[in-house]
């Protein structure tokens, strides 16, 4: 699959197959084509070749099937935080009363209480990112793409968000794909971690995570966790043999 972008094919030979209700992470060096891949899956970019299917239906170039949190927060400056957060259901024509109530409740959980009626300029970097994440979650799609949703968050807030996100994903049986730079985050959240290499992007390997389905924070202290993390790091570093060690 090669998107129309300049001379160099940006993404090539990428095969990403997901089960329903799976949580998958993509980790890879900066500029390797992760965001481009998301743009293709979201139907925003048409690949020169290749296909994207959801539930067996071809969705290449047809946006609207997935909820997509882009790398830049893209909050609308002219809308208050509350109005930004409910954008998805609003565009889908949902009745707004219950949506707003749900948003208000979640804003509290996201540490944005008191900022419902603020404009985005009044928020810190991390607060903006949380608002953008909440906006994505509020779209309620069965497939969710998250492009570095926790990049601007401190470890504590991040941990809270992780647990909350995993809870959501388990509860609503969503399929989630996460781009991250943090191997801990990838291992902790995922059922599988895809490690990408650049130019054109392809996957150096896939690390299946065999941690229990219901996992708490303490799982990060286990040797299994450390093992998985080591595998991911080895693939990232491009160690010969790391690939063979898997599958």
């Amino acid at each position: 699959m090669t998107p129309d972008r300049g001379l160099v094919p940006a993404v090539e030979g990428v095969d990403l197959a997901l089960n329903r209700n799976e949580f998958v992470s993509i980790i890879g060096p900066s500029g390797c084509g992760k965001s481009t891949l998301f743009n293709i899956i979201a139907g925003l970019l048409k690949p020169t070749s290749g296909e994207v299917a959801l539930d067996g239906k071809e969705i290449v170039g047809r946006p609207g099937h997935v909820a997509y949190m882009m790398q830049r927060d893209l909050l609308l400056p002219w809308r208050t935080i509350l109005d930004n957060v409910v954008l998805g259901p609003e565009l889908a024509g949902k009745p707004m009363e219950p949506v707003r109530n749900r948003a208000l409740a979640l804003l509290r959980r996201f540490g944005l209480e008191g900022y419902e009626n603020s404009y985005p300029t009044a928020l810190s970097g991390g607060m903006r990112q949380r608002a953008a994440l909440l906006r994505t979650i509020m779209c309620e799609r069965s497939v969710v793409l998250l492009d570095e949703p926790f990049g601007a968050l401190d470890a504590l807030t991040r941990a809270t968000m992780h647990e909350w996100l995993l809870g959501i994903q388990r509860e609503f049986q969503q399929t989630m794909i996460l781009i991250t730079h943090d191997p801990d985050e990838a291992v902790y959240l995922s059922d599988r971690v895809y490690v990408a290499t650049p130019r054109p992007m392809s996957f150096a390997g896939i690390v299946p995570i065999t941690l229990p389905y219901d996992r708490g924070r303490d799982v990060t202290m286990t040797p299994e966790f450390a093992d998985h993390k080591r595998q991911v790091l080895a693939l990232l570093r491009g160690d010969k043999g790391a690939t063979d060690a898997l599958h």
């Binding site: 139907g43 925003l44 882009m70 565009l91």
Partner: protein
């Protein structure tokens, strides 16, 4: 945080802020008055401000204002028509490349036609009512508004459109919930220009086929060498134009709270909150 700087003024210096522009106006009028007297400019060339003011007191309420009423009614009707035309055109220009390349050049060409040459045709087609005048007003006013709207509607970062597309937004939603808010500052710029053009358009339109309105009055007074009253009428027209411009500016501020509502309030409240103890930041030790 950037807007705060201008807000550090106390109430007194704010009064001073108002005094300065008033002073400029007064100074300009004084220079004009002096020039008329010193250079002995004859009143039929340029009457002194005091003369114009006297004339305003005399014929303002009885003669000029009733005519202004007529002209402003045409102005408003033509202005609203221009807004409708500009809305339709800018959407067509934005979405239809055939229109943009086939019809926009014709619209551009039409704008170079001195409207007064068209006035008789309009009268022939639409008769002796205010319709031709409203049409002239609209024709004069719609173009800058259209261009400003198109400029604004095109000015957003493509990433925002991608984001809306990813949400499966309809083209209408992308227009109303994305392009339009982004375009507002530019649209209001266009609305302000169109406001002054509507006033001038309505006035000029009364040169032809009208028997009332401030434009008609000006034409009559010009023929009768009533230069002072011509200037009095122009003054009234200028005030009306300023008022319309100001009104649009007010609506602009109210329509864009995310740009305008913020800093002043925060600043006022911050002034009233108790100050907290001082502390040093980044003080080097050596």
């Amino acid at each position: 945080m950037n807007a705060q700087k201008t807000n550090h003024a106390s109430f007194l210096s704010r009064l001073g802020d108002a005094a300065l522009p008033l002073g400029i106006v007064v100074a300009l009028l004084a220079i004009w008055e002096a020039a008329v007297h010193l250079l002995q400019i004859q009143p039929f060339v340029l009457p002194a401000p005091t003369e114009i003011f006297k004339e305003l007191m005399i014929s303002g309420p009885t003669v000029i204002l009733p005519q202004l009423h007529v002209t402003m009614a045409e102005t408003m009707a033509g202005y609203l028509a221009a807004i409708v035309v500009a809305a339709v055109l800018s959407v067509l220009i934005l979405y239809s490349s055939a229109f943009r390349r086939g019809v926009l050049p014709l619209v551009v060409a039409s704008q170079t036609i001195p409207i007064i040459t068209m006035a008789p045709v309009l009268v022939i087609w639409f008769g002796y009512n205010s319709l031709p005048r409203i049409i002239i007003t609209a024709i004069v006013a719609f173009f800058p508004l259209t261009i400003a709207a198109v400029t604004g509607l095109k000015s957003l970062e493509p990433h925002f459109i991608d984001f809306f597309r990813s949400l499966n937004a309809t083209p209408a939603q992308i227009f109303f919930k994305l392009r339009l808010p982004v375009a507002l500052p530019s649209i209001f710029g266009g609305l302000k220009v169109a406001a002054t053009l509507a006033v001038i358009g309505a006035t000029i339109s009364e040169w032809v086929g009208a028997s009332q309105g401030i434009g008609y009055l000006i034409a009559q007074d010009t023929a009768l060498l009533n230069t002072t009253r011509v200037f009095a009428s122009l003054t009234v027209l200028g005030i009306a134009g300023m008022a319309l411009f100001g009104l649009v500016g007010l609506i602009e501020r109210l329509s864009m709270p995310w740009i305008y509502a913020r800093p002043t309030m925060a600043w006022l409240r911050a002034q009233r909150s108790p100050q907290s103890p001082a502390a040093a930041v980044a003080r080097p030790r050596q």
